[in-house]
C-alpha cells in the first residue's frame, strides 16, 4: 500500500493539456501571441512606424502591401498595432509588477500587524481603493506631464491598495493556522513566517490577481492614451490610435475597429488566463486531477 501511494505521488500533478481548463488554454494562447508580437516589434515591423507616406493615405483593409490598410498619414496600421502591443504590454507589465510587489508587502504587513494598526491601515487601503484612478492619472499628467511615466505611476497608485486588499484576507487566514503558531513557537520571526510560510501558500491567489490586473492595466493604459494622458506621439499606443480614428469613423471605420479589437483581444486574453488559473488552482478542481 505504501508503494502504491508513493508511486501516484512521485509524479506530481503534471496535468495533461486536455485536463487543463479551456479558458486557461485560450487565455494563455492569446497572451502568448500578444507577447510574441510585442517582442517581434523589436526586430521587425512591416514598415517604419513613424515615416509618413502621403500618397498612400486611407488605404482600405487587404490593400497591396498593407494588410490592415493605412491611416490618415499613410502609416501602416499593422505596424502601428504591433508597436502599440509593445507599449501596452510595457506599461501594464511594469505598473502591475511594481504595484503587486508593493501591494503584497503592504498586505502581508497589515495582516500581521496588531489590531489597532491593522484597523488604521486597512481603512486607508479602503479609501485608496475608492479613489477613482482616472482622476489620479489626470492630476499626475498635469503635474509631471502626460506620457507613459504618468500612466504607469497612476496605475501603480491605483493598484497598490487593490492588490493589498486581495492579499490581506488570505494572509490572515493562513496566519490563523496552527503551523504559523508552531513556527513562532520554535522562534521564527514575523517576516520569516510571512515570506516562508504565508507567501508560498497565497502565491496562487497573487498569480491569479496579477493576470486580472494585467487585463485591467491594458484597458486603463488604452483609456489614458485615448484621453491624451498616456503615451504621446510618436510612441504608438492602441488608445491613441483609437482616438485618432474617432473623427474619421465615417471615412475609414476600419481604423477604429482594428485597435478596438486589439484591446478587446488583449483584455479577454488576460481575463481568460486569470479565470483559467483560478479554476486550475481551485482546490476542488485540483482534487479531481
Amino acid at each position: 500500500m505504501v508503494t502504491r501511494l508513493k508511486k501516484s505521488w512521485s509524479k506530481p500533478t503534471r496535468a495533461r493539456l486536455s485536463n487543463l481548463p479551456a479558458s486557461l488554454l485560450i487565455g494563455g494562447g492569446l497572451v502568448g501571441f500578444l507577447v510574441c508580437v510585442a517582442l517581434l516589434s523589436f526586430v521587425w515591423t512591416p514598415y517604419d512606424p513613424i515615416t509618413i507616406d502621403v500618397r498612400n493615405r486611407y488605404l482600405p483593409i487587404w490593400s497591396d502591401g498593407h494588410i490592415l490598410g493605412t491611416d490618415k498619414f499613410g502609416r501602416d496600421v499593422l505596424t502601428q498595432l504591433i508597436m502599440g502591443a509593445r507599449n501596452s504590454l510595457f506599461v501594464s507589465v511594469v505598473s502591475t509588477l511594481v504595484s503587486l510587489v508593493i501591494g503584497t508587502l503592504l498586505g502581508l504587513y497589515v495582516a500581521a500587524a496588531g489590531a489597532r494598526l491593522q484597523n488604521i491601515i486597512s481603512r486607508g487601503v479602503d479609501v485608496g481603493v475608492a479613489i477613482p484612478g482616472i482622476l489620479v492619472a489626470m492630476v499626475l499628467a498635469t503635474a509631471i506631464g502626460p506620457g507613459n511615466a504618468a500612466a504607469i505611476t497612476a496605475i501603480i497608485i491605483w493598484f497598490i491598495p487593490v492588490s493589498a486588499r486581495v492579499v490581506i484576507g488570505p494572509t490572515m487566514q493562513v496566519l490563523s493556522q496552527d503551523y504559523i503558531e508552531a513556527a513562532f513557537g520554535y522562534g521564527r520571526t514575523k517576516w520569516f513566517v510571512l515570506f516562508n510560510h504565508v507567501l508560498p501558500n497565497i502565491s496562487s491567489i497573487i498569480i491569479v490577481q496579477a493576470s486580472v490586473m494585467f487585463a485591467a492595466a491594458i484597458l486603463i493604459e488604452a483609456s489614458l492614451s485615448f484621453l491624451g494622458v498616456g503615451a504621446q506621439p510618436p510612441t504608438a499606443s492602441w488608445g491613441r490610435t483609437l482616438k485618432e480614428a474617432q473623427p474619421l469613423m465615417e471615412i475609414a471605420p476600419s481604423l477604429m475597429v482594428v485597435p478596438g479589437l486589439a484591446i478587446v483581444i488583449a483584455v479577454l486574453g488576460f481575463n481568460l488566463l486569470g479565470d483559467g488559473l483560478r479554476t486550475y488552482y481551485d482546490p476542488q478542481q485540483a482534487r479531481k486531477r
Binding site: 508552531a182 522562534g187 521564527r188 508560498p200
Partner: protein, 256 residues
Amino acid sequence: MSIIDVKSFYFSYGSRAMQETNPWTLCDLNFSLEAGGFLGVVGESGSGKSTLIRNLCGLLPITKGQIQVAGYDMGSLNHAEQLKLRRSIQLIYQNPKRSFDPRMKIGTSVSQPIRSLEKRVPPTTELETLLARVGLQPDYLDRFPHELSGGQLQRVAIARALSVKPIILLADEPTSALDVSVQAQALKLIAELREELNLTMVLVSHDLAVIARITNSVIVLKDGEIVEQGDTASVILKPQHEYTKKLRAAASVVSL
C-alpha cells in the same frame, strides 16, 4: 523543585481599556508542577484551557500575576532568554492537518525547529532517527502533509516537537481530531516518550477519561477558574466540586 510555577495569574484578550468590563479569560490561577510531572488540564469549550497552555509556552503575554517556567520569569524575558525557553518547551497541536505547512515536505517541516533554534541544518540521518522514534519510516520525509493520515501527521508533530530536546512538552487536545482507532496509539506514544525522555508534560483535554488514564495530577477549569485540583486518582474517583462530578457523570454515561 517546581519546573512550572503559576501564581495568582490572570489573563485577558484585548486591550487594557477593555479589561475593565471584560471578564478574565483566566482568573487567579495558582498551581505548580514538579519536574517530570504529568499534569492534565480538563475543561469544556470556553474554559480557557487552550489559552492557559499558550501562556505557559509564552505565545501569549501575561496580563497580571506570575508564571515561572524552567526558572525563567515569563513576564520579563529578553530575546536570548526567549530563544532558550523555546528550546526547553514545545507544544503539540489539536489538529495535525493544520499544524503543518501544506507546501512544505515533512522533512523540511521537521527540520524547522533545529534550523531556527540551533542555527544549523540537521542531516537527513538525524531526521530519520527522529521519525523512527515515533514509529515512522524514513521515506515519509519526502512526502507532503496531505499524503499522511491524521494519526501519522500527529506522530510527525511529536517528532518535530522533540527535535530540539525540550524538557517540557505541552499538548493541546492531541487526540481529539484523530480517528477512534488511532487515538489510543497517539496517546500511548506520547506517554511512552514522556517516560523514556523524562519529560515534564501538560496535557489539555475535554475528555476526562483521557486525562484520567495517563496523567498524575489534574486541574479542572471552568470559565477561566480552577474549580478543583489535586492528584488524578483522588479528583477522578472522589471529586469534591459539583462541576467535576457533573463532568464525570456526563463522561461516564457514554463511556464503554
